[in-house]
Amino acid sequence: MKHDTKDVSVGRPRFARSIGIVGAAAAAALALVASACSPSDSSSNSGSSGLSGTVDVTSIQDLTGAVGPVGIATQNGMKLAEKQINDSGMLGSAKLKISYKDTQTKSDQAASLMSSAVSTNATAIFGPVSSQEAVVVAPIGQSAKVPTIFTQAGSEGVVIGDYTFRVTSPQQYYQPKMAAYLKDKGIKTVSFIYDSTVPTTKNLTEQTMPPLMEQNGITIKGKYGFQNGTTDYSAYTSKVVGENPDAVGVEVTNPEASPIISSLRNAGYKGLIFGGTSFGAASLKAAGQQAKGAVWATDFDPKSDFPKTKQFVADYTAMFGSAPVNYAAEGYDAVYLLAYGLKNASSTDRAKVQAGMAQAAQKGYDGALGPLKFEGNDLRQDGYLQTYDGTAVQPVDSQS
């Protein structure tokens, strides 16, 4: 319907027009003030915060056991975020309080802790990094309708409903970059050594990599899985070296990377070694020069120029005395997803917080990992390629 402004303007008294103009100006001024007060991020996750008191949250994390180092790094990132959120007054007068529990990398322990946590007044729960535990814990959180946020835990069966979130992009979304790199390097054949008892590495090797390799004209000569807890890898590395592939993929958890790389080099392998997010300065340090030239795809580049990433690296280093790894960045961004959710909800009601978090995920936000975009409740990233020069991690671009 055509709006006849001429009729409206002629028909209104002069005083009413003045009131209208003043009112419009006041509203514009208020809008300007409101936008100046909201957090400076690329999204509009800036609901006003009507929260007060303590917002209790529980973290059920692998702090000891096989993936303890991953859990500890994640926890450190979470602690930094918790501190910054409270210090900045992002939640108004409310203070975020995260209670940290240890699953000891045991699924039964994780389930027990989760069952206890959902029956408390915890507004939300952060889940374990291990996929094996996450698939056990996720249904508990979903059925109890408690917002549950995971990092790592890249297998299926983790983001299973509207109350489960993941702030780590599953590796299949940035492994195409790894496959393309191998093709660019003229790699024609690869073999894999992988941990077949961890769902993430098993699915990556058996389901994600084969089609990617095929798309890039790379033949897989063999895939050799070992049980978690294997101590000597000589039999596997000898088998792979005997095949003489152009490159070897090592898809393992954090502590296994260096022993396998050392075993490969000791067995005489001189070709390219590549892997996943479990590679990194901390896990390759033991292999030292034997890991020189190893390449991996990851979701975090600590040398990125992205402002939030740079600030996170500086703040983390100041707080913990060492540079952050990707797990810390993921934990940091996970806490901020919750914080944005709380702010959008202006409440600690679990249903409202879930809706607030879903809103934040839909809009996306800037985090330590970079600009974050979600598909539903699950993060998506293109990732970065990194390499190890024998002493430190470098982005792949600087090596070309």
Binding site: G65, P69, A235, P255, A286
Partner: protein, 297 residues
Amino acid sequence: MIQVIADSLSLGSVYVLFALGLSLSWSVLNLLNLAYGAQFMLGAYFAYVIGSHVDWPLLVVLPAVMLIVAATSVVTDVLVFRRLRTMAGTPVESELSMLVASIGLAAVAVTLVQHQTQGESKFVPRSVFQVKTLSFGDKLHLTNMQLIMLIVTVLLTIALAVAVKWTRFGRAMRGVAVDPATCELLGVNSNRLFSTTIAISGALAGLAGVLLAIHLNYVDSTMGDPLLTKAFAIIIIGGVGSILGAAVGGYLLAFAEVVIVAYGPANYRDAIAFVVILVVLLLRPSGLFARQRWERA
């Protein structure tokens, strides 16, 4: 095939080197020490700590670590096991209570190391020992540490077997395990003998910890647990009570595992290996080298 044999000998040496001390305490003293995996881990951990602070070579670090772990073993025997042996009414009660106590001791050691390392994996610095690859054409690659482990394992196995069977000390150890009261009457101080045997077992755990930490290139608070399971298996295959049997069992198990990886479905390595163990036990329930009936010593 030659690389398969070399890998079998290497893996077998890993298993047997780890199991020797456990075999000594279990086979001879009837002490099923579930803290043995933690003692092994402590050996690896102390090697990392010493290597991180001083530039000592392996020949100095190794005896130092063996001494430290032996000392911790003696302390736990004096403070814990000896009291339990004294308080127990029957030998079965004594064995069970020491078994349970060893589980607790292991948990304490693992937790302490986890706390110190923040759960991160560490490694023994290369200043302690530089692992080098010895290549024999394209067909065979071995490291200097794998050769050392093989030689040490064989020599230690023979030395222990001879000591337990033919020395006065060995006879006393076996006697105390069967009937400590009679041994006391014959002038054998059973408590001191027990502590000495525990110390030797601890020293062997420390030795294995250092060498395997260098070979595997990592030190982790939970590194003893998977090897403990394998050690039980090979002691049972070989026959409880036989140190030589445990050594043969270890190399047999290693050969089975390596062959499966080299020629079969690698993912099923552990499953198939334990099927082999099951078959051996069905044919020889007491183990390969056990006597017709299971008797201690």
